[in-house]
């Protein structure tokens, strides 16, 4: 069975490859990139290294090799975008999709076959380019990167190629024309640009090993995108969809239905629109403004009573996972900092100085409460509310873009900071439990709940995107998932952040001062 499936995937891929290798519009730019780019990279490396060395920045020059190696391999890979973007929609335009869809090949076979075909040729081109570049370095007597590094760059190139192709194929299956697919390609090009910049930063900043983490992250992301594509690959939609129209009416109706749980517009809007033509205000308007407000009041109560708990119930698995991940982040960071941080490097003295620097303690061995007194005036509830809400919003947004990955990473970092902070207090001989109970818990009950709910709903939304849902298009799933997140953010998270900010600004410092009393961070004298 598996063998048969692979043979079918390869059959689809081979046909595509034959098509590509007979198309001069693909071969010509690829050949140019393979032959021209390594020379350009080699020349550029030489000039840059000479220039940098002149100013003694040999460390930077050293990192130029791996960076250029990555660039030399990446440029030919970009061709994969052209091939993959038209994999489905191009065939649909040429009319050759229907015979294939009428054959007994499965969705997975067709999808994976096209994915494979989109990756192979550009990847081979990328490897040839790397090979020529290394050969050039060797001939010029320039330092040749180690074999391990070359291997790492080759793996990185492979995951990047599959990432681009998988994203392009998702676009190709969801577009109605090649033109539309090309326009949507910016959704791949821009994030890929950011990714390459990030990887370049890692190359210059860290050791080569750090790139393996980039490989793992890109591989996970690629897996999620492939899953997204497969989940929403529908033969029917592929042939049935004829035109791309921005249907704002449909968009707002779908969003509103998921957001409010009803298709009826708020009474106040229906009342305002009551004299408009039927096509504009198609729903029955309330008789008076009072009736409209009463209807909305009832609707609002129902929304809180039925819709919000319903959505929270749906996200329960995501909430459990998020809470567990948060706890693991707190505890693992606590124990890491407490046991692994070399005391001789950062002892109580240094920590105390840092505490003073950040306003958490008073200089000259004064009690901690004095430092907190001065800090209290700097904290304001509106600023905290805006900061926390904005942070949760941004985390969720980057989460949506990266299928939850980057959003979750930020969440883990936030939780890890709590663990790390508690460990630092422990190192200062202040009970972490006391700090937690007095300094975090009072507002944290609300703040952390809001953050967890926001992240969980985002995770639930991205999980929905990569899970097949019968009779729903990718657009419908996306809008409905966004509506769910917006609903929870507005109805639950924002009020909780507000309460948390009020407590954090007005109550937590008082409890903390009371709890810490005359505790001193810096030793007297």
């Amino acid at each position: 069975m598996i063998k048969h499936r692979f043979s079918m995937i390869w059959m689809i891929a081979r046909r595509e490859l034959v098509d590509q290798l007979r198309d001069w519009r693909i071969l010509a730019p690829m050949g140019t990139l393979i032959l021209f780019f390594p020379f350009l990279m080699g020349f550029f490396t030489q000039v840059s290294v000479d220039f940098i060395n002149r100013y003694g920045a040999s460390l930077v020059a050293e990192r130029f090799g791996p960076f250029m190696l990555m660039v030399a391999g990446f440029f030919p890979v970009t061709i994969s975008l052209v091939v993959a973007l038209e994999a489905f929609v191009g065939e649909k335009e040429r009319g050759s999709m229907e015979p294939l869809l009428s054959s007994p090949t499965t969705d997975v076979e067709i999808y994976m076959g096209k994915l494979l075909a989109g990756t192979i040729v550009p990847l081979i081109a990328g490897y040839l380019s790397i090979f020529i570049y290394v050969l050039l370095l060797f001939r010029r007597g320039a330092p040749v990167p180690e074999i391990g590094l070359i291997f790492l760059i080759c793996v990185l190139n492979a995951v990047q190629a599959v990432l681009m192709v998988s994203a392009a194929i998702v676009i190709s299956t969801q577009s109605t024309s090649v033109r539309a697919a090309n326009l949507l390609a910016s959704f791949i090009i821009i994030p890929m640009g950011v990714l390459i910049q990030g990887e370049s930063y890692l190359i210059f900043w860290g050791s080569d090993d750090i790139l393996w983490w980039a490989v793992v992250a890109v591989a996970i992301l690629t897996g999620l995108i492939i899953r997204l594509g497969l989940s929403h690959f529908q033969r029917e939609k592929l042939l049935g969809r004829e035109i791309d129209m921005l249907d704002l009416k449909w968009l707002s109706r779908t969003f509103w239905k998921s957001f409010s749980g009803t298709t009826t517009l708020p009474g106040i809007i229906r009342f305002i629109l009551r004299s408009r033509p039927a096509w504009f205000a198609p729903q029955v308007a309330p008789a008076s403004l009072g009736m409209a407000l009463f209807e909305d009041y009832q609707g609002f109560l129902n929304w809180y009573r039925i819709e919000i708990p319903g959505t929270i119930r749906k996200t329960r698995p995501a909430i459990i996972i998020t809470v567990l991940v948060g706890l693991i982040a707190i505890f693992s960071t606590y124990f890491y900092v407490d046991y692994r941080l070399p005391q001789e490097k950062i002892g109580p003295q240094k920590l105390g100085e840092l505490a003073v620097e950040f306003g958490m303690a008073a200089p000259g061995g004064a009690p901690v409460s004095q430092g907190l007194e001065s800090l209290k005036d700097l904290i304001s509830a509106p600023a905290l509310f805006v900061h926390n809400s904005r942070t949760a919003l941004l985390i969720s947004l980057v989460g949506f873009i990266s299928f939850g990955m980057v959003g979750y990473l930020f969440y883990i970092v936030n939780m890890a900071i709590i663990g790390g902070l508690l460990a630092v207090f422990n190192m200062l001989n202040i009970s972490p439990l006391l700090i937690f109970a007095a300094g975090i818990l009072p507002h944290g009950v609300f703040e952390l709940t809001a953050l967890t709910l926001s992240i969980s709903t985002m995770m639930y939304a991205t999980a929905r995107l990569v899970t097949p849902e019968d009779n729903l298009t990718i657009g419908e799933v996306f809008i409905s998932a966004m509506a769910d997140w917006t609903k929870i953010f507005i109805a639950v998270c924002l009020p909780l952040f507000l309460v948390a900010a009020l407590i954090e600004a007005n109550i937590t410092p008082l409890i903390l001062i009371k709890a810490l009393g005359n505790t001193k961070i810096l030793p007297d004298g």
Partner: protein
């Protein structure tokens, strides 16, 4: 072999096909006739398990189109509206690809490719890329693709479009041969003469609904009534006295001609000639009034447009 009942397809709120009920036995050709956009392609796509019906059910070659879509696709040969060829592939490569997709062994593929290319007169062009083919050659190659796995069910959309008369005749002969080998065939066409020639049953589809279905005779009887005969005589006189003949019902007449219907034409037509000869009217001709499928179809369309059907 092909059965469907109440087959309905909605695209959002748009009704593409509604309540289609069909039955095509082995060795039968059903022609589906209708305007562009009437729902022919949607029906065919539901029968090939590409589209999921919104309502109703269909079984093709014994398989349910929703639950056993893989089996349905393996049992059906489809000729789509556009030929759907891969232009950079040769005919051999193309047929080999689909032969493999339909699970044929390499030996069987080779055999079928040779047979089909020779039958359709493409053997000489077998190693040329299909992008270099004429329209007719492309259509023949697409038909060869539909036949590569010798399916028990064939769904053919305009099989002879763009073909020269000889090639079209070749395809028609092949369809007739397939029918005699107990294949079930659905033929979607605008070529009414071809449908009349090949189809055992005809279904006329209008705005997603089947208006009429049955044999050509049944359709003709339903829409145009019993067979009409026309007698013409020389000179500028109207044939008269014909309505006195037993079993003849005069429908219309004019200078030099008269039309009538008869339940027993074998008795009535000689009596008509005898009567005209008796009146010394020189008979020029006597025959059936032309009632081709085209006449039937156009009548159906006009009645449908008026809401009378």
């Amino acid at each position: 072999m092909i059965q469907c009942e109440d087959l309905t397809k909605y695209f959002d709120s748009f009704r593409a096909v509604e309540g289609v009920t069909l039955n095509v036995e082995p060795g039968e050709v059903l022609a589906i006739l209708g305007q562009n956009g009437a729902g022919k392609t949607t029906t065919v796509r539901m029968l090939t398990s590409i589209l999921t019906p919104s309502r109703g059910w269909a079984r093709v070659a014994g398989y349910d189109v929703v639950k056993q879509s893989q089996h349905v696709r393996a049992s059906v040969g489809v000729l789509t509206e556009s030929h759907g060829l891969y232009m950079r592939m040769t005919a051999i490569e193309y047929l080999n690809f689909f032969g493999q997709a339909y699970g044929l062994s390499p030996e069987r593929r080779q055999q079928r490719i040779t047979e089909l290319l020779e039958y359709f007169g493409l053997a000489d062009a077998a190693k040329r890329r299909s992008g270099e083919y004429s329209k007719g050659m492309r259509q023949k190659l697409a038909l060869a693709r539909a036949l590569i796995h010798e399916p028990p069910v064939l769904l053919l959309d305009e099989p002879t479009s763009a073909m020269d008369p000889e090639s079209a005749q070749l395809v028609r002969t092949e369809i007739a041969r397939l029918r005699s080998s107990q294949r079930s065939i659905i033929l979607c066409t605008h070529n009414l003469a071809e449908a009349e020639m090949l189809a055992d049953k005809i279904a006329i589809i209008y705005r997603g609904r089947i208006l009429l279905a049955g044999t050509f005779e049944e359709l003709r009887m339903k829409l145009l009534g019993p067979t009409e005969y026309e007698v013409t005589v020389a000179g500028e006189t109207t044939p008269h006295g014909l309505d006195a003949i037993d079993g003849l019902s005069l429908t219309s007449s004019g200078l030099g001609w008269a039309r009538y219907t008869a339940h027993h034409p074998e008795q009535v037509n000689p009596a008509v000639i005898r009567e005209l000869v008796r009146q010394e009217m020189p008979v020029v001709s006597l025959g059936e009034v032309s009632r081709t499928l085209e006449v039937v179809y156009l009548k159906a369309m006009s009645l449908a447009a008026e809401g009378k059907l």
